[in-house]
Amino acid sequence: MVPGGFGRGFVAGQGQFIGLVDLHGQQAGDFVAVSRGHVHEALSPGHTRRALGSLFFTVGGCLYSNHGRPMFRVVRDDADGRHDANVPACDPTRYSVEFGVQGHRNCLENLYEGLAEFGLDILDVPEPFNFFQNGPVAPDGRMRLADPVSRPGDMIVLEVLMDVACALSPCPQDIIPGNGLVVTDMRVIVSNTMIAP
């Protein structure tokens, strides 16, 4: 269990499955991963966009590393593709510059704490996939702010295609739409077999 607004690191091996569960619904979870063999090979939203030709992925599609290699395959998605891979992790400046709030918990530091033991600097924390975050496209290429549509217990399951170190931060954003203004807990499951409902 990862408490809402905090972060946890974990490892998974090639062939395993990672399940990320939005326990109470409407909670975005920032997720990053690096190769355990080479920590500068990282899960990359940008390379995934280029490979998929889309902002969004679908079940059966892969998520790619910055070396252009598939790192995960999406094998189950209760949120039906409504995830964001566009918004950088919230960090101290997200709150101090944009909302005048100092000392707010934030995903960047949560993810860094989760990965620090693998030798990463905070600048090495990759751009995140923000699972369950709802990032629809509005006309003229605008981003529309929206709350997640995920329901309690909704899960995304990733098949792990290379040995990885990961971190998950149930986003502490409680000021603008993104988590329904209420930050809640998530669960991480790492399993040797496909995770069933």
């Binding site: 940008g46 566009n86 496209v137 290429g141």
Partner: protein, 209 residues
């Protein structure tokens, strides 16, 4: 024409600078607060990868990702603030004859160009690393670039369409620079846009328009 401040700085703007970036390479140019950065596709059909490091702190840099969310826009449009990873405006896109740029895709690199069947082209990433090394600059990270003159359209369903190289000979962007910055400009193949022609880029830091 420096920024129109109520109390003008005692120091005038520093000297103007000009570089030409040959296809397949990257160049470095410094700009001070108040100067203009102008990037011109001399012959047309050449995208420009753009990275910028804050001159007195290379760990702060131009970020396409923070730029998108700062303006709630997937695409770069006229008047948008281009911000750093610390959400400070580095410059503003003030003039733009092409209106086709990209904030979403990574820069090309050796792997992506090989995969695209372009083994003879140089990657944006490698060209920038080489230019930084030659200038004895060691930033802690090479960030993702803003891809100028790369036409990526975002559909309502999230699909990305890369159009043919959009810039014609002489197409230009001009930005008013707000933070003293070391810019790296790469003139490399994108590996994703049809119709690129591989010409030089002209990069000017000027005090007058």
């Amino acid at each position: 024409m420096p920024l129109l401040l109520k109390h003008q700085a005692a120091e005038p703007l520093p000297a103007e600078a000009h570089i030409t970036v040959a296809h397949g390479t990257a160049g470095i140019i410094r700009a001070h607060r108040g100067q203009f950065l102008r990037i011109t596709d001399v012959a047309g059909g050449q995208p420009a990868g753009l990275v910028g490091f804050v001159a007195d702190n290379l760990a702060e840099f131009l970020s396409p990702h923070h730029t998108r969310v700062f303006s709630n826009s997937y695409v770069l449009t006229l008047g948008m603030r281009m911000v750093t990873n610390l959400r400070r405006p580095m410059m503003v896109l003030g003039r733009d004859t092409t209106r086709r740029h990209d904030l979403l895709l990574p820069g090309s690199d050796r792997r992506s160009l090989d995969a695209a069947g372009l083994p003879e082209e140089q990657g944006c990433t490698e060209a920038m690393r080489a230019a930084l090394a030659e200038a004895a600059l060691q930033p802690p990270k090479l960030p993702d670039p803003i891809n100028l003159f790369l036409d990526v359209t975002v559909a309502l369903d999230g699909r990305l369409t890369v159009g043919a190289a959009p810039s014609r000979a002489g197409d230009t962007i001009i930005c008013r620079v707000l933070i003293d910055t070391i810019f790296v400009v790469a003139g490399c193949a994108s590996g994703v846009a049809p119709g690129e022609r591989g010409g030089p880029l002209r990069v000017d830091v000027v005090n007058e328009l």
